[in-house]
Amino acid sequence: AVLVKGVDHEMLEDVERVLIEADFGPATFSLVENLEQQIRRGGLKTEDAFRGWLVDEIAGMFGAGEAGELHFAADGPTVVLILGVNGVGKTTQAAKLAHRLLRSGKSVLLAAADTFRPGATEQLAIWADRLGLPVVRGTRGGDPAAVAYDAVEAATARGIDVAIIDTAGRLHTESGLMKELQKIVRVVGRRCDGAPHESFLVLDGTVGQNAMQQGKSFAAAVPISGLIVTKLDGTARGGAVVCLQREIGVPVRFLGVGERLEDLDPFEPRRFAERLLG
Protein backbone atom coordinates (compact mmCIF):
# COMPACT_ATOMS: atom_id res chain seq x y z
CA ALA A 1 0.00 0.00 0.00
CA VAL A 2 1.18 3.52 -0.66
CA LEU A 3 1.45 5.34 2.62
CA VAL A 4 0.34 8.93 2.66
CA LYS A 5 3.03 10.78 4.54
CA GLY A 6 1.93 11.46 8.09
CA VAL A 7 -1.81 11.06 8.39
CA ASP A 8 -2.69 14.12 10.43
CA HIS A 9 -3.54 12.55 13.78
CA GLU A 10 -4.69 15.84 15.19
CA MET A 11 -7.24 16.12 12.38
CA LEU A 12 -8.47 12.59 13.02
CA GLU A 13 -8.76 13.37 16.71
CA ASP A 14 -10.82 16.43 15.86
CA VAL A 15 -13.19 14.30 13.79
CA GLU A 16 -13.42 11.87 16.69
CA ARG A 17 -14.28 14.69 19.06
CA VAL A 18 -16.91 16.21 16.78
CA LEU A 19 -18.66 12.85 16.33
CA ILE A 20 -18.59 11.89 20.01
CA GLU A 21 -19.82 15.33 21.02
CA ALA A 22 -22.66 14.93 18.51
CA ASP A 23 -23.69 11.73 20.39
CA PHE A 24 -22.68 9.51 17.46
CA GLY A 25 -21.47 7.12 20.15
CA PRO A 26 -18.89 4.27 20.18
CA ALA A 27 -19.42 3.72 16.42
CA THR A 28 -17.26 6.83 16.08
CA PHE A 29 -14.05 4.82 16.48
CA SER A 30 -14.55 2.44 13.59
CA LEU A 31 -15.76 5.30 11.37
CA VAL A 32 -12.61 7.30 12.11
CA GLU A 33 -10.45 4.19 11.55
CA ASN A 34 -12.17 3.82 8.17
CA LEU A 35 -11.45 7.43 7.37
CA GLU A 36 -7.81 6.93 8.28
CA GLN A 37 -7.61 3.93 5.97
CA GLN A 38 -9.16 5.91 3.11
CA ILE A 39 -6.56 8.62 3.62
CA ARG A 40 -3.68 6.12 3.78
CA ARG A 41 -4.83 4.52 0.52
CA GLY A 42 -4.50 7.94 -1.02
CA GLY A 43 -8.17 8.24 -1.88
CA LEU A 44 -8.76 11.44 0.06
CA LYS A 45 -6.33 14.29 -0.09
CA THR A 46 -8.00 17.44 1.21
CA GLU A 47 -10.01 18.51 4.24
CA ASP A 48 -13.01 18.96 1.94
CA ALA A 49 -12.58 15.42 0.66
CA PHE A 50 -12.44 14.04 4.21
CA ARG A 51 -15.61 15.88 5.14
CA GLY A 52 -17.36 14.85 1.92
CA TRP A 53 -16.50 11.23 2.62
CA LEU A 54 -17.85 11.50 6.17
CA VAL A 55 -21.11 13.08 5.01
CA ASP A 56 -21.55 10.31 2.44
CA GLU A 57 -20.82 7.60 5.00
CA ILE A 58 -23.19 8.99 7.62
CA ALA A 59 -25.97 9.83 5.18
CA GLY A 60 -25.54 6.34 3.77
CA MET A 61 -26.26 4.84 7.17
CA PHE A 62 -29.85 5.93 6.78
CA GLY A 63 -32.17 4.18 4.39
CA ALA A 64 -33.51 6.02 1.37
CA GLY A 65 -35.42 9.02 2.66
CA GLU A 66 -39.16 8.77 3.16
CA ALA A 67 -39.43 12.53 2.96
CA GLY A 68 -42.15 13.83 5.19
CA GLU A 69 -45.17 12.00 3.80
CA LEU A 70 -47.44 9.97 6.02
CA HIS A 71 -48.46 6.45 5.01
CA PHE A 72 -52.21 6.83 4.64
CA ALA A 73 -54.69 4.01 5.09
CA ALA A 74 -56.26 2.63 1.91
CA ASP A 75 -59.69 3.52 3.25
CA GLY A 76 -61.15 4.72 6.50
CA PRO A 77 -59.23 6.95 8.87
CA THR A 78 -55.44 6.84 9.08
CA VAL A 79 -54.57 6.24 12.72
CA VAL A 80 -51.34 7.84 13.95
CA LEU A 81 -49.94 6.96 17.37
CA ILE A 82 -47.41 9.19 19.14
CA LEU A 83 -45.27 7.56 21.83
CA GLY A 84 -42.01 7.88 23.75
CA VAL A 85 -40.46 8.59 27.12
CA ASN A 86 -41.32 11.57 29.30
CA GLY A 87 -40.88 15.14 28.16
CA VAL A 88 -39.49 14.47 24.66
CA GLY A 89 -42.10 16.53 22.81
CA LYS A 90 -44.90 14.10 21.92
CA THR A 91 -47.82 16.42 22.56
CA THR A 92 -46.19 19.29 20.68
CA GLN A 93 -45.23 17.05 17.74
CA ALA A 94 -48.80 15.69 17.61
CA ALA A 95 -50.00 19.27 17.15
CA LYS A 96 -47.32 19.96 14.52
CA LEU A 97 -48.31 16.88 12.54
CA ALA A 98 -51.93 17.95 12.68
CA HIS A 99 -50.94 21.37 11.39
CA ARG A 100 -48.94 19.86 8.54
CA LEU A 101 -51.81 17.58 7.54
CA LEU A 102 -54.32 20.41 7.63
CA ARG A 103 -52.13 22.45 5.33
CA SER A 104 -52.03 19.56 2.88
CA GLY A 105 -55.83 19.48 2.82
CA LYS A 106 -56.53 16.56 5.15
CA SER A 107 -59.12 16.56 7.93
CA VAL A 108 -57.71 15.72 11.35
CA LEU A 109 -58.89 14.73 14.80
CA LEU A 110 -56.74 14.81 17.92
CA ALA A 111 -57.01 12.36 20.81
CA ALA A 112 -55.74 13.18 24.29
CA ALA A 113 -54.92 9.67 25.44
CA ASP A 114 -52.57 10.89 28.19
CA THR A 115 -55.07 10.51 31.00
CA PHE A 116 -52.38 10.48 33.65
CA ARG A 117 -50.28 13.62 33.76
CA PRO A 118 -51.70 16.84 35.24
CA GLY A 119 -52.49 19.33 32.51
CA ALA A 120 -51.92 16.86 29.66
CA THR A 121 -55.43 16.89 28.26
CA GLU A 122 -55.67 20.67 28.71
CA GLN A 123 -52.38 21.09 26.84
CA LEU A 124 -53.53 19.14 23.76
CA ALA A 125 -56.96 20.75 23.93
CA ILE A 126 -55.35 24.19 23.63
CA TRP A 127 -53.42 23.09 20.54
CA ALA A 128 -56.61 21.58 19.08
CA ASP A 129 -58.41 24.84 19.73
CA ARG A 130 -55.66 26.83 18.00
CA LEU A 131 -55.91 24.49 15.03
CA GLY A 132 -59.70 24.55 15.01
CA LEU A 133 -59.83 20.81 15.51
CA PRO A 134 -61.98 18.47 17.58
CA VAL A 135 -60.25 16.71 20.45
CA VAL A 136 -61.36 13.40 21.92
CA ARG A 137 -60.69 13.23 25.62
CA GLY A 138 -61.17 10.86 28.50
CA THR A 139 -61.41 11.32 32.24
CA ARG A 140 -58.29 11.98 34.30
CA GLY A 141 -57.04 8.60 35.45
CA GLY A 142 -59.21 6.79 32.92
CA ASP A 143 -58.16 4.07 30.48
CA PRO A 144 -56.11 5.58 27.63
CA ALA A 145 -57.10 2.70 25.35
CA ALA A 146 -60.72 3.83 25.72
CA VAL A 147 -59.78 7.31 24.52
CA ALA A 148 -57.89 5.83 21.59
CA TYR A 149 -60.87 3.66 20.74
CA ASP A 150 -63.27 6.61 20.93
CA ALA A 151 -60.99 8.59 18.64
CA VAL A 152 -60.98 5.89 15.98
CA GLU A 153 -64.76 5.54 16.35
CA ALA A 154 -65.26 9.27 15.95
CA ALA A 155 -62.91 9.56 12.98
CA THR A 156 -64.66 6.66 11.25
CA ALA A 157 -68.14 7.98 11.95
CA ARG A 158 -67.34 11.52 10.80
CA GLY A 159 -65.22 10.51 7.81
CA ILE A 160 -62.13 12.27 9.16
CA ASP A 161 -58.91 11.49 7.28
CA VAL A 162 -56.43 11.25 10.16
CA ALA A 163 -56.75 10.54 13.89
CA ILE A 164 -53.62 11.50 15.85
CA ILE A 165 -53.41 9.84 19.24
CA ASP A 166 -51.13 11.48 21.82
CA THR A 167 -50.06 9.18 24.66
CA ALA A 168 -48.49 9.70 28.08
CA GLY A 169 -44.73 9.77 28.47
CA ARG A 170 -43.51 6.44 29.75
CA LEU A 171 -40.11 4.99 30.54
CA HIS A 172 -39.42 1.85 28.50
CA THR A 173 -38.28 0.24 31.75
CA GLU A 174 -41.79 0.35 33.24
CA SER A 175 -43.38 -2.94 32.20
CA GLY A 176 -46.85 -1.89 33.35
CA LEU A 177 -46.74 1.21 31.17
CA MET A 178 -45.40 -0.76 28.21
CA LYS A 179 -48.34 -3.16 28.62
CA GLU A 180 -50.68 -0.18 28.64
CA LEU A 181 -49.17 0.93 25.32
CA GLN A 182 -49.61 -2.54 23.86
CA LYS A 183 -53.26 -2.45 24.88
CA ILE A 184 -53.75 0.87 23.07
CA VAL A 185 -52.26 -0.66 19.91
CA ARG A 186 -54.44 -3.78 20.22
CA VAL A 187 -57.62 -1.83 20.82
CA VAL A 188 -57.24 0.50 17.83
CA GLY A 189 -56.19 -2.43 15.67
CA ARG A 190 -59.41 -4.25 16.46
CA ARG A 191 -61.56 -1.22 15.74
CA CYS A 192 -59.80 -0.31 12.52
CA ASP A 193 -58.00 -2.64 10.12
CA GLY A 194 -54.29 -1.95 9.99
CA ALA A 195 -54.37 0.61 12.80
CA PRO A 196 -52.18 2.18 13.95
CA HIS A 197 -51.05 2.94 10.38
CA GLU A 198 -48.25 5.09 11.73
CA SER A 199 -46.66 4.87 15.18
CA PHE A 200 -44.00 7.46 15.80
CA LEU A 201 -41.41 7.03 18.52
CA VAL A 202 -40.41 10.53 19.59
CA LEU A 203 -36.84 11.00 20.80
CA ASP A 204 -35.36 14.03 22.51
CA GLY A 205 -32.56 15.50 20.38
CA THR A 206 -30.41 15.79 23.51
CA VAL A 207 -30.64 12.08 24.29
CA GLY A 208 -27.37 10.22 24.70
CA GLN A 209 -26.67 6.54 24.36
CA ASN A 210 -29.90 5.66 26.18
CA ALA A 211 -31.60 6.25 22.81
CA MET A 212 -30.57 2.71 21.91
CA GLN A 213 -32.35 1.20 24.94
CA GLN A 214 -35.42 3.34 24.32
CA GLY A 215 -35.66 2.41 20.68
CA LYS A 216 -35.03 -1.28 21.15
CA SER A 217 -37.50 -1.60 24.04
CA PHE A 218 -40.31 0.30 22.34
CA ALA A 219 -39.76 -1.51 19.05
CA ALA A 220 -39.87 -4.86 20.85
CA ALA A 221 -43.17 -3.93 22.48
CA VAL A 222 -45.12 -2.34 19.62
CA PRO A 223 -44.63 -1.82 15.89
CA ILE A 224 -42.84 1.48 15.23
CA SER A 225 -43.16 2.99 11.76
CA GLY A 226 -40.97 6.02 12.27
CA LEU A 227 -38.77 8.11 14.54
CA ILE A 228 -39.18 11.81 15.24
CA VAL A 229 -36.20 13.60 16.78
CA THR A 230 -37.02 16.87 18.55
CA LYS A 231 -35.36 19.99 19.94
CA LEU A 232 -32.77 20.16 17.18
CA ASP A 233 -33.13 23.94 17.17
CA GLY A 234 -30.88 23.94 20.25
CA THR A 235 -27.25 22.80 20.39
CA ALA A 236 -28.05 19.08 20.36
CA ARG A 237 -27.03 17.19 17.23
CA GLY A 238 -29.16 14.06 17.73
CA GLY A 239 -26.34 11.73 16.68
CA ALA A 240 -27.59 8.84 18.81
CA VAL A 241 -30.40 8.30 16.31
CA VAL A 242 -27.99 7.23 13.55
CA CYS A 243 -26.98 3.91 15.07
CA LEU A 244 -30.42 3.41 16.59
CA GLN A 245 -32.37 3.62 13.34
CA ARG A 246 -29.96 1.20 11.73
CA GLU A 247 -30.18 -1.19 14.67
CA ILE A 248 -33.98 -1.39 14.78
CA GLY A 249 -34.59 -0.78 11.08
CA VAL A 250 -36.96 2.15 11.65
CA PRO A 251 -36.57 5.28 9.50
CA VAL A 252 -36.27 8.79 10.87
CA ARG A 253 -39.29 10.62 9.43
CA PHE A 254 -39.39 14.12 10.95
CA LEU A 255 -37.29 16.51 12.98
CA GLY A 256 -38.69 18.93 15.58
CA VAL A 257 -36.93 22.28 15.26
CA GLY A 258 -38.84 24.57 17.58
CA GLU A 259 -41.91 25.05 19.71
CA ARG A 260 -44.28 26.45 17.07
CA LEU A 261 -46.69 24.50 14.86
CA GLU A 262 -44.60 25.03 11.75
CA ASP A 263 -41.37 23.81 13.40
CA LEU A 264 -41.43 20.31 11.93
CA ASP A 265 -39.06 19.37 9.10
CA PRO A 266 -39.22 16.23 6.99
CA PHE A 267 -36.07 14.20 7.60
CA GLU A 268 -33.30 14.58 5.03
CA PRO A 269 -30.21 12.34 5.56
CA ARG A 270 -27.53 14.50 3.93
CA ARG A 271 -28.66 17.66 5.64
CA PHE A 272 -28.70 15.80 8.96
CA ALA A 273 -25.18 14.45 8.35
CA GLU A 274 -23.88 17.94 7.51
CA ARG A 275 -25.32 19.37 10.68
CA LEU A 276 -23.92 16.49 12.72
CA LEU A 277 -20.40 17.33 11.58
CA GLY A 278 -20.88 20.96 12.51
Binding site: N86, P118, G119, K231, G234
Partner: protein, 297 residues
Amino acid sequence: ALSERLTGVLKNLSSRGVLTEDQVKEGLREIRLVLLEADVSYELTREFVGRLRERAVGIEFGKTVSPGQQLVKFVHDELVTLLGKDPAPLAFATVSPTVILMVGLQGSGKTTTAAKLAARLKREQKAPFLVAADVYRPAAEDQLRQLGEEVGVAVFGPREHGSADGDDVVSLVQGGIAAAEKARARTVIVDTAGRSQIDEEMMGELERLKSAVTPLEVLLVADGMTGQDAVRIAKGFNEALGITGVILTKLDGDARGGAALSIHGVTGAPIKFVGVGERLDALEEFDPVRMAGRILQ
Protein backbone atom coordinates in the same frame (compact mmCIF):
# COMPACT_ATOMS: atom_id res chain seq x y z
CA ALA B 1 -19.97 -4.54 34.27
CA LEU B 2 -16.71 -2.65 34.19
CA SER B 3 -14.94 -5.13 36.46
CA GLU B 4 -15.76 -8.02 34.12
CA ARG B 5 -14.65 -6.03 31.10
CA LEU B 6 -11.40 -5.07 32.77
CA THR B 7 -10.80 -8.62 34.00
CA GLY B 8 -11.33 -9.68 30.42
CA VAL B 9 -8.72 -7.35 28.93
CA LEU B 10 -6.26 -7.89 31.75
CA LYS B 11 -6.56 -11.68 31.77
CA ASN B 12 -3.14 -12.33 30.30
CA LEU B 13 -1.43 -10.88 33.31
CA SER B 14 1.83 -12.27 34.50
CA SER B 15 1.94 -13.40 38.09
CA ARG B 16 4.09 -10.42 39.09
CA GLY B 17 2.11 -7.97 41.18
CA VAL B 18 2.40 -4.81 39.10
CA LEU B 19 0.44 -3.52 36.08
CA THR B 20 2.60 -2.87 33.03
CA GLU B 21 2.20 0.06 30.69
CA ASP B 22 0.64 -2.15 27.99
CA GLN B 23 -1.84 -3.60 30.41
CA VAL B 24 -2.75 -0.14 31.61
CA LYS B 25 -3.26 0.95 27.98
CA GLU B 26 -5.73 -1.89 27.42
CA GLY B 27 -7.52 -1.19 30.65
CA LEU B 28 -7.78 2.51 29.95
CA ARG B 29 -9.22 1.92 26.50
CA GLU B 30 -11.96 -0.13 28.12
CA ILE B 31 -12.57 2.49 30.80
CA ARG B 32 -12.78 5.17 28.16
CA LEU B 33 -15.43 3.19 26.27
CA VAL B 34 -17.44 2.60 29.43
CA LEU B 35 -17.46 6.31 30.26
CA LEU B 36 -18.45 7.38 26.73
CA GLU B 37 -21.20 4.75 26.63
CA ALA B 38 -22.40 6.23 29.91
CA ASP B 39 -22.66 9.70 28.31
CA VAL B 40 -19.73 11.24 30.19
CA SER B 41 -18.46 14.17 28.12
CA TYR B 42 -15.64 13.71 25.64
CA GLU B 43 -13.45 16.26 27.39
CA LEU B 44 -13.98 14.93 30.89
CA THR B 45 -13.40 11.35 29.75
CA ARG B 46 -10.16 12.42 28.16
CA GLU B 47 -8.94 14.23 31.29
CA PHE B 48 -10.05 11.39 33.51
CA VAL B 49 -8.31 8.70 31.49
CA GLY B 50 -5.22 10.91 31.27
CA ARG B 51 -5.05 11.24 35.04
CA LEU B 52 -5.63 7.51 35.47
CA ARG B 53 -2.84 6.71 33.05
CA GLU B 54 -0.32 8.48 35.26
CA ARG B 55 -1.45 6.79 38.39
CA ALA B 56 -2.22 3.31 37.15
CA VAL B 57 1.17 2.17 35.92
CA GLY B 58 2.89 0.38 38.73
CA ILE B 59 -0.27 -0.29 40.70
CA GLU B 60 0.50 -3.27 42.83
CA PHE B 61 -2.27 -5.74 43.32
CA GLY B 62 -2.43 -8.23 46.11
CA LYS B 63 -3.41 -11.87 45.83
CA THR B 64 -6.96 -11.28 47.05
CA VAL B 65 -7.93 -8.62 44.55
CA SER B 66 -7.59 -9.00 40.75
CA PRO B 67 -6.00 -6.13 38.85
CA GLY B 68 -9.32 -5.58 37.11
CA GLN B 69 -11.08 -5.14 40.44
CA GLN B 70 -8.28 -2.94 41.70
CA LEU B 71 -8.57 -0.68 38.67
CA VAL B 72 -12.35 -0.51 39.04
CA LYS B 73 -12.11 0.53 42.68
CA PHE B 74 -9.62 3.16 41.60
CA VAL B 75 -11.95 4.51 38.89
CA HIS B 76 -14.97 4.31 41.19
CA ASP B 77 -13.33 6.30 43.98
CA GLU B 78 -12.09 8.90 41.52
CA LEU B 79 -15.60 9.27 40.06
CA VAL B 80 -17.15 9.73 43.49
CA THR B 81 -14.71 12.54 44.17
CA LEU B 82 -15.51 14.13 40.79
CA LEU B 83 -19.23 13.96 41.45
CA GLY B 84 -18.84 16.00 44.60
CA LYS B 85 -18.73 13.76 47.61
CA ASP B 86 -19.91 16.28 50.17
CA PRO B 87 -23.66 16.36 50.64
CA ALA B 88 -25.13 19.71 49.64
CA PRO B 89 -28.50 20.66 51.07
CA LEU B 90 -30.69 23.49 49.82
CA ALA B 91 -29.67 26.91 51.01
CA PHE B 92 -32.05 28.91 53.19
CA ALA B 93 -32.04 32.63 53.73
CA THR B 94 -32.05 34.03 57.23
CA VAL B 95 -34.58 36.58 56.04
CA SER B 96 -37.66 35.00 54.45
CA PRO B 97 -38.66 34.16 51.92
CA THR B 98 -35.97 32.10 50.29
CA VAL B 99 -36.44 32.24 46.53
CA ILE B 100 -35.57 29.16 44.49
CA LEU B 101 -35.49 29.47 40.69
CA MET B 102 -35.99 26.30 38.60
CA VAL B 103 -34.39 26.56 35.16
CA GLY B 104 -33.48 24.25 32.32
CA LEU B 105 -34.16 22.90 28.86
CA GLN B 106 -37.61 22.12 27.51
CA GLY B 107 -39.14 18.97 29.00
CA SER B 108 -36.40 18.32 31.58
CA GLY B 109 -38.88 17.99 34.47
CA LYS B 110 -38.92 21.48 36.05
CA THR B 111 -42.65 21.74 36.73
CA THR B 112 -42.91 18.25 38.22
CA THR B 113 -39.72 18.78 40.24
CA ALA B 114 -40.95 22.15 41.52
CA ALA B 115 -43.95 20.35 42.99
CA LYS B 116 -41.77 17.55 44.39
CA LEU B 117 -39.56 20.13 46.06
CA ALA B 118 -42.61 21.89 47.47
CA ALA B 119 -43.85 18.60 48.93
CA ARG B 120 -40.49 17.97 50.51
CA LEU B 121 -40.19 21.47 51.96
CA LYS B 122 -43.69 21.20 53.34
CA ARG B 123 -42.71 18.00 55.16
CA GLU B 124 -39.64 19.81 56.46
CA GLN B 125 -41.86 22.63 57.73
CA LYS B 126 -40.25 25.22 55.49
CA ALA B 127 -43.62 26.73 54.44
CA PRO B 128 -43.26 26.53 50.63
CA PHE B 129 -45.12 28.54 47.99
CA LEU B 130 -45.18 27.92 44.23
CA VAL B 131 -45.02 30.50 41.44
CA ALA B 132 -46.10 29.50 37.94
CA ALA B 133 -43.88 31.70 35.77
CA ASP B 134 -44.13 29.71 32.54
CA VAL B 135 -46.49 31.89 30.52
CA TYR B 136 -45.69 30.25 27.20
CA ARG B 137 -46.40 26.52 27.26
CA PRO B 138 -50.07 25.64 26.77
CA ALA B 139 -51.62 24.67 30.13
CA ALA B 140 -48.35 25.09 32.05
CA GLU B 141 -50.13 27.09 34.74
CA ASP B 142 -52.86 24.42 34.85
CA GLN B 143 -50.25 21.72 35.32
CA LEU B 144 -48.52 23.42 38.25
CA ARG B 145 -51.83 24.34 39.80
CA GLN B 146 -53.00 20.73 39.77
CA LEU B 147 -49.67 19.57 41.18
CA GLY B 148 -49.82 22.26 43.86
CA GLU B 149 -53.25 21.04 44.83
CA GLU B 150 -51.97 17.48 45.06
CA VAL B 151 -49.22 18.45 47.50
CA GLY B 152 -51.26 21.06 49.33
CA VAL B 153 -49.10 24.05 48.42
CA ALA B 154 -50.46 27.40 47.21
CA VAL B 155 -49.76 28.44 43.63
CA PHE B 156 -49.49 32.01 42.30
CA GLY B 157 -49.74 32.30 38.55
CA PRO B 158 -51.07 34.43 35.69
CA ARG B 159 -54.60 33.96 37.04
CA GLU B 160 -53.75 35.67 40.33
CA HIS B 161 -51.45 38.19 38.70
CA GLY B 162 -54.15 39.40 36.37
CA SER B 163 -53.71 40.26 32.72
CA ALA B 164 -52.58 43.86 33.18
CA ASP B 165 -48.95 42.79 33.26
CA GLY B 166 -49.82 39.43 31.78
CA ASP B 167 -46.80 39.15 29.57
CA ASP B 168 -44.14 40.39 31.97
CA VAL B 169 -42.71 37.37 33.73
CA VAL B 170 -40.62 39.51 36.08
CA SER B 171 -43.61 41.43 37.45
CA LEU B 172 -45.52 38.15 37.77
CA VAL B 173 -42.78 36.63 39.90
CA GLN B 174 -42.48 39.77 42.01
CA GLY B 175 -46.23 39.58 42.56
CA GLY B 176 -45.84 35.94 43.51
CA ILE B 177 -43.18 36.70 46.09
CA ALA B 178 -45.32 39.46 47.57
CA ALA B 179 -48.24 37.04 47.81
CA ALA B 180 -45.96 34.46 49.43
CA GLU B 181 -44.81 36.96 52.04
CA LYS B 182 -48.42 37.85 52.76
CA ALA B 183 -49.19 34.15 53.22
CA ARG B 184 -46.20 33.88 55.58
CA ALA B 185 -44.48 31.41 53.28
CA ARG B 186 -40.77 31.04 53.89
CA THR B 187 -39.66 29.45 50.63
CA VAL B 188 -40.81 30.39 47.12
CA ILE B 189 -40.23 27.93 44.29
CA VAL B 190 -40.42 29.59 40.88
CA ASP B 191 -41.18 27.32 37.92
CA THR B 192 -39.98 28.81 34.63
CA ALA B 193 -40.51 27.91 30.98
CA GLY B 194 -38.13 25.46 29.36
CA ARG B 195 -35.67 27.17 27.05
CA SER B 196 -32.49 26.57 25.07
CA GLN B 197 -29.36 28.18 26.45
CA ILE B 198 -28.73 29.70 23.01
CA ASP B 199 -32.08 31.49 22.94
CA GLU B 200 -30.87 35.01 23.75
CA GLU B 201 -34.28 36.47 24.38
CA MET B 202 -35.36 33.72 26.76
CA MET B 203 -32.01 33.66 28.57
CA GLY B 204 -32.31 37.43 28.86
CA GLU B 205 -35.64 36.93 30.59
CA LEU B 206 -34.01 34.68 33.17
CA GLU B 207 -31.19 37.15 33.72
CA ARG B 208 -33.71 39.94 34.32
CA LEU B 209 -35.67 37.69 36.63
CA LYS B 210 -32.59 36.82 38.63
CA SER B 211 -31.52 40.40 39.14
CA ALA B 212 -35.07 41.42 40.04
CA VAL B 213 -35.75 38.80 42.71
CA THR B 214 -32.22 37.74 43.79
CA PRO B 215 -32.89 34.02 44.30
CA LEU B 216 -30.75 32.20 46.82
CA GLU B 217 -30.82 29.10 44.65
CA VAL B 218 -30.77 28.85 40.86
CA LEU B 219 -31.36 25.14 40.25
CA LEU B 220 -30.60 23.62 36.87
CA VAL B 221 -33.09 20.83 36.26
CA ALA B 222 -31.55 18.45 33.72
CA ASP B 223 -32.81 15.26 32.12
CA GLY B 224 -30.76 12.27 33.31
CA MET B 225 -30.79 10.81 29.79
CA THR B 226 -28.96 13.81 28.30
CA GLY B 227 -25.89 12.97 26.29
CA GLN B 228 -23.01 15.17 25.24
CA ASP B 229 -25.22 18.25 25.04
CA ALA B 230 -25.19 18.34 28.86
CA VAL B 231 -21.91 20.24 28.71
CA ARG B 232 -23.26 22.94 26.40
CA ILE B 233 -26.51 23.26 28.34
CA ALA B 234 -24.76 23.51 31.69
CA LYS B 235 -22.17 26.00 30.38
CA GLY B 236 -24.83 28.22 28.86
CA PHE B 237 -27.05 28.37 31.91
CA ASN B 238 -24.10 28.74 34.26
CA GLU B 239 -22.45 31.56 32.32
CA ALA B 240 -25.73 33.45 32.11
CA LEU B 241 -27.03 32.92 35.63
CA GLY B 242 -24.61 31.17 37.91
CA ILE B 243 -26.10 27.79 38.78
CA THR B 244 -26.10 27.05 42.53
CA GLY B 245 -27.39 23.52 42.35
CA VAL B 246 -28.46 20.76 39.99
CA ILE B 247 -31.36 18.32 39.96
CA LEU B 248 -30.99 15.37 37.63
CA THR B 249 -34.34 13.84 36.62
CA LYS B 250 -35.77 10.61 35.22
CA LEU B 251 -33.10 8.46 36.83
CA ASP B 252 -35.70 5.79 37.49
CA GLY B 253 -34.97 4.73 33.91
CA ASP B 254 -31.85 2.91 32.69
CA ALA B 255 -29.84 5.88 31.47
CA ARG B 256 -26.34 5.63 32.94
CA GLY B 257 -26.35 9.29 33.90
CA GLY B 258 -22.90 10.42 32.78
CA ALA B 259 -24.49 13.85 32.35
CA ALA B 260 -24.14 14.17 36.13
CA LEU B 261 -20.38 14.24 35.80
CA SER B 262 -20.45 16.66 32.88
CA ILE B 263 -22.84 19.09 34.51
CA HIS B 264 -21.11 19.11 37.87
CA GLY B 265 -17.75 19.32 36.13
CA VAL B 266 -18.76 22.34 34.07
CA THR B 267 -20.68 24.32 36.70
CA GLY B 268 -18.98 23.25 39.89
CA ALA B 269 -22.48 23.32 41.36
CA PRO B 270 -23.47 20.43 43.61
CA ILE B 271 -26.04 17.94 42.42
CA LYS B 272 -28.56 18.28 45.20
CA PHE B 273 -31.35 15.93 44.22
CA VAL B 274 -32.31 13.28 41.69
CA GLY B 275 -35.78 12.68 40.29
CA VAL B 276 -36.70 9.01 40.33
CA GLY B 277 -40.27 8.89 39.14
CA GLU B 278 -43.38 10.83 38.20
CA ARG B 279 -44.96 10.67 41.64
CA LEU B 280 -44.51 13.71 43.82
CA ASP B 281 -42.53 11.84 46.47
CA ALA B 282 -40.01 10.60 43.88
CA LEU B 283 -37.19 12.97 44.81
CA GLU B 284 -34.04 11.68 46.50
CA GLU B 285 -30.95 13.33 47.84
CA PHE B 286 -28.02 12.88 45.49
CA ASP B 287 -25.71 10.03 46.42
CA PRO B 288 -22.37 10.17 44.57
CA VAL B 289 -21.46 6.59 45.47
CA ARG B 290 -24.65 5.24 43.89
CA MET B 291 -24.19 7.51 40.90
CA ALA B 292 -20.61 6.34 40.34
CA GLY B 293 -21.79 2.74 40.46
CA ARG B 294 -24.49 3.50 37.94
CA ILE B 295 -22.13 5.23 35.52
CA LEU B 296 -19.64 2.38 35.68
CA GLN B 297 -22.04 -0.51 35.60
